[in-house]
Symmetry: C2
Subunit: 222 residues, 2 copies
């Protein structure tokens, strides 16, 4: 990813460029997913809610694009190496129902937030501030949580199906995340630095898994 740097006025490490690049493409890709899922909404207000979530992703995308541009990096160059892994995740987890869409939005948003929270310690103040802003809870998670909780109440078979779905989402996300880290030396170094340990990557993924499990239990999908 060093070729993505071109006369930037501020210093930026390749690990950070890659981190922001994955995050940016994740936002663009989430926009796509949510916009498409909005069409399957059973109500007009559900449709508007998902469309608004999608719109929020593009607001974040704009912040990330500006951050990179100020450092002489084109967001397209930063995203490109990671597109196929993010696309592979989306393709392998295309929701078939409205509730699957909501569970996916909820799971992925929180997983991304956890991941970046774990890495916050190794980022400089400005980058950390950006990441925190981009991953701040916009209240959309609460919408998904409320809808899902209402739908699964007293519906054991549905709850079981969605619990299975949430485990599959986690598995596919971690699989693609591993590919991403394997292909970016800078990102791997960042994680090792953040966790202070050579076994840091495996430990990080275990931690994400535990947080996911706890969250699913709270949602009634544990």
């Amino acid at each position: 990813m060093t070729d993505a740097k071109a006369g930037g006025t501020r210093e930026i490490g390749t690990g950070v460029v890659d981190l922001i690049g994955v995050l940016a493409y994740g936002e663009l890709s989430a926009f796509d997913r949510l916009a498409e899922d909005a069409r399957t909404a059973p109500t007009l207000s559900g449709r508007a809610a998902l469309a608004s979530m999608a719109a929020a992703e593009m607001g974040h995308y704009g912040l990330l694009e500006r951050y990179l541009a100020e450092r002489g990096v084109r967001v397209e160059d930063a995203m490109r190496p990671f597109m196929r892994h993010v696309d592979a995740f989306q393709d392998s987890t295309a929701p078939r129902t409205w509730l699957e869409s909501l569970v996916k939005a909820y799971v992925v948003d929180n997983l991304a937030a956890d991941l970046y929270r774990e890495l916050a310690g190794v980022l400089d103040d400005e980058t950390r501030g950006l990441v925190v802003t981009v991953l701040a809870d916009t209240g959309h998670s609460a919408f998904a949580q409320r809808e899902v909780a209402a739908a699964i109440e007293n519906e054991k078979p549905l709850r079981d199906r969605l619990a299975l779905w949430s485990r599959r989402l986690l598995g596919e996300a971690l699989t693609q995340a591993q590919y991403v880290v394997a292909e970016s030396d800078g990102l791997a170094e960042l994680i090792v630095a953040g966790t202070g340990d050579l076994s840091g990557i495996a430990a990080l993924f275990r931690k994400l898994q535990q947080q996911h499990t706890k969250r699913m239990q709270a949602l009634g999908l544990g």
Copy 2:
């Protein structure tokens, strides 16, 4: 549309509720259209540009929703009567190419801006301020204009096809707009009040047509 009013704290006429309702559903529908068209973008930056345009529509939608809510009107109720006409317009003008998408985004945004500008005179200050904000040029038109202008330079057959396309867009938009006005007494009264004339509706549509023609000439599609 009077049933959409339910204990609002501020006065609002049915014509204004209908006007804001059409505008709100137009935004939600444009979000859908732009999000879908973003997938056909030939470049990653074009994809992000259209996704950002789509996101901006939802920002406007949120403003309209809040405006109605403050007056005791649910945005869903205000939009519902006009959904099928807006949907009919979108269905009859689904773009088949990236350039058709851009021409459509450009034509529709400007047509809507013209329409609301013509009606601004009959709106109270607060409503007028809202409409102006929602229809303010966000620089997205400039993007579409630039891309289209570059594409048609020295490409007469392409230019002719897109000129035909822009005429079809105008025709379909005015057809559906006529249905909308025919079904909303409040909206018809608003237009007559705004143009001060019983023949106001026909005159308004003629004016929109003229402004469209001028704009297409400026774009090289006249």
